[in-house]
Structures are given as C-alpha cells and as structure tokens.
C-alpha cells in the first residue's frame, strides 16, 4: 500500500527504509505523504538553517534547490519547481513561503513551523550583530568589493538550478520548452509585466498538462 510510485521522483532518494517500516503510518501524528522519506524535525531545522545562514549574496532558492533536490532528494525537480511557482504567485517573500510549503510537505504542520523558524530566526540572530559590524567596517572599499565578489560567485548556484530545470523542461515536451522560452523572452528580454504574462501562460500550460494526462 505504500508503493505509490511517482514517475517524476528523482532517483536515489532513499525511500526504502521508510517504506519498509510497517509502523510508519501510525507513528506519524500529522499524516505526511506516504511516498516521501520520513525526515526528522531536527533534520528539517538543520537543513533550512544551513541554507538560510549560507546564502550570502542572495540566490536562496538556488541553495534550497541544491540541498533539497540535488543533495538530499527530498523533492523531485517538478515538485520543487511547481512549489516555487506557487510561492512566487502568492503574496509573501518567496523563500519564506517556500520554507512553509516544503516544510509542510515534509512533516505537516510541525514541519511548516520548523521550516519557517529555521529560515528566519538564526538569520535574524546573525544579522543584528552584522549590522553593528557594518557600521564599523563598512567604510572600507575592500569589504564592499568582497561582498560584490561573494554575490557574483553565489550566482553559480542560481545558474546551476537554471541549467538543471531547463534541461528537465526540455525533456518533458516541446510545449513545455515553448513555455520556458516565452516566459524567459517576455520577462527577461522584453521586460513585460511578470504578473500579466504568468496569468496568461500558466493556465495554458496547466491545461496542456491536463490534456496530456498523467505520465504512464
């Protein structure tokens, strides 16, 4: 009954120990998705904190992609991407929304609370002393240059995510590829309004996915 296989799941996500545990279904108070490796709250806290505290220079969603999809296999490419799209469309800060959403999918309500706290609290504890330090050292040009360099290197994580998700979209079908191209050209090159473009393109893309049906 646990063998709900998901065709889009990333390989090697280590579900076997969870699935073979017969008590799995009863030990979890908040029901979680049965085909997902059971992740402890401590681990959720640790990984979200790591992502939050290491995201110098921005690109937080690139870090989240690396940790959750590439390193740990907690989510597949398409799960992560659809979560990102939903979190971008809703009001709120993307990465905080994403922490609540992904935390909930891992461990229900407690997971959502843990993800939220881990994303914000440690970073808050770090940023306040930093703001005091900046008022002392911020006047040195080298500090300013080093921060710009860190931000430039941090782009690598976003590039990594971008290259991976584009490849998986291209593999999907030609319509998905067209959607990627239209969104990139419209928003990136032509500077159209993100909201208006997405409100037109997203329903068409979803309708196409619905028409195509679920993958065998």
């Amino acid at each position: 009954m646990f063998a709900v296989s998901r065709p889009d799941r990333a390989a090697g996500c280590g579900t076997s120990s969870t699935l073979s545990n017969p008590r799995y279904d009863f030990t979890v108070f908040h029901s979680v998705e049965v085909d997902r490796p059971r992740v402890s709250l401590a681990e959720i806290f640790q990984v979200f904190t790591k992502v939050s505290l290491t995201s110098f220079g921005g690109g937080l969603s690139g870090w989240m992609y690396r940790e959750f999809v590439e390193v740990r296999g907690w989510f597949s490419d398409s799960e992560f991407l659809s979560a990102l799209a939903i979190c971008q469309a809703m009001p709120g800060v993307n990465v905080v929304n994403l922490s609540v959403w992904l935390g909930f999918r891992l461990r229900g309500t407690l997971g959502a609370v843990t993800g939220f706290c881990a994303m914000i609290v440690p970073a808050l504890i770090v940023i306040i002393p930093l703001s005091v330090a900046y008022s002392v050292w911020g006047k040195y040009a080298a500090v300013h240059h080093a921060l710009a360099g860190i931000a430039a290197a941090a782009l690598a994580l976003t590039l990594n995510m971008a290259s991976r998700v584009t490849v998986s979209a291209v593999r999907s079908d030609v319509v998905a590829l067209a959607v990627v191209a239209v969104v990139f050209v419209g928003i990136g090159l032509l500077r159209w309004s993100m909201f208006e473009l997405v409100i037109v393109v997203a329903p068409l893309s979803v309708a196409w996915a619905f028409h195509k049906g679920r993958p065998a």
Binding site: D8, E33, S52, T54, F56, G57, S78, L81, S82, L84, A85, Q88, P91, G92, V93, N94, V96, N97, F104, A112, M119, I120, A123, L124, V126, I127, I128, S131, G138, A141, A142, H145, A146, L147, A148, G149, I150, A151, A152, A153, A154, L155, A156, T158, L159, N160, A169, S172, V179, V180, V182, F184, I187, G188, L189, V201, S205, W208, A209, F210
Partner: protein
C-alpha cells in the same frame, strides 16, 4: 520595550506583508517612506546602510524589516517587525498547503504541478538574466559566476569555498582596478 512603538511597528508593517510579492523588493519604497519621512525612525543614509546589510547578509533579504525594527525598539522591535512581515502571508501559504494535501493525487493537481514547472523554469532564467545585468563588477562578475558554476556543476567544488574565492578575487582585483 516601548508598547506605543511596538504597536506602531505592527500597524505600519503588517499591511505591507500582504503586498510583498517575489523577493520582497516590492515594499522597499514604502518601507523607506514610512521609516524616513513619515515616522522619522532614521535618516535616508541610515536606511541605505540597513538596505546594503540586508542584501549582503545571509538569510532572506527582507530581514531589512527586522533591522528597521531593531533600530526602532531594539531586540523586541526586531522580533515584532519580523513576525509582522512574515507571519500573515505564511499563514495563507499554510492554509493553501493544507488544501493541496487534501486533494493530493487529484488529476488537476498533477496538471497544475506539471504545468507550472516550465513557467517557473522560465522565471528562473529571466531572473538570472536580470541579475547579470545589474551585477556589480561587470565582466568580472560574469567571469567569476560562470567559472564558479562550472566548478560547482562539473568539478563538484564546495560552494562555500567558491563564495570565499569570489570574495577574495574581487577584493584583490578591486584594490587595483576599481579605486574607491
């Protein structure tokens, strides 16, 4: 802790929570207006400093709001401001996540997830493009970003080492080529 200031923070920041879309950049103009001209919590220069710190520091860039709270009423102000900006919209997301779970495995949900994935991929690519256009350091930023990407993707380099290297390279190059 000053209750009047705390209440004022709540009143100013909570409504902004609902209009944050994307990375939180949409509320910066209004935050600046409220902090500098309306409530006189800080000078324009102080606001710019807090903005720079929130960009450079780890964590969500919108912790700018927490720094404003810290400026207004110390640690209590920082906590209240953070809760005011992050909690309301997180509750909305939480409710949506519950609804999502309730209809899990419905056909429409699979279609929504699969249909939104390429939209998100396009948005990420557009984001990369626009970051490259505004990145400080011009061609150097491109070189560092692309080499770091190659090292990360194909050489499995440690991302922290790459960030440190990027910082050191820029600091050294900056000393000779971009005099302050």
């Amino acid at each position: 802790m000053n209750w009047a200031l705390i209440l004022l923070l709540l009143r100013v920041i909570t409504p902004l929570s609902f209009v944050t879309i994307g990375g939180g950049a949409s509320i910066i103009a209004d935050l600046e207006r409220q902090s500098v001209s309306v409530n006189h919590w800080m000078t324009p220069g102080q606001f710019l400093d807090l903005f720079a710190i929130s960009r450079a520091a780890p964590g969500p860039g919108s912790l700018l709001v927490s720094l404003i709270g810290f400026q207004v009423d110390g640690v209590a102000g920082a906590i209240v401001a953070s809760l005011a900006i992050f909690v309301p919209t997180s509750l909305i997301l939480y409710v949506l996540a519950r609804v999502w779970r309730k209809y899990r495995d419905a056909n429409w949900q699979h279609a929504v997830e699969r249909g939104l994935a390429p939209v998100a991929a396009g948005l990420i690519l557009a984001g990369v493009y626009s970051i490259f256009q505004i990145a400080e350091g011009g061609i150097m930023a491109w070189l560092v970003a692309i080499s770091a990407f190659v090292a990360l993707r194909w050489l499995r380099a440690n991302p922290f080492a790459l960030l440190a290297l990027g910082g050191v390279i820029f600091a050294i190059v900056g000393m000779y080529w971009w005099p302050a």
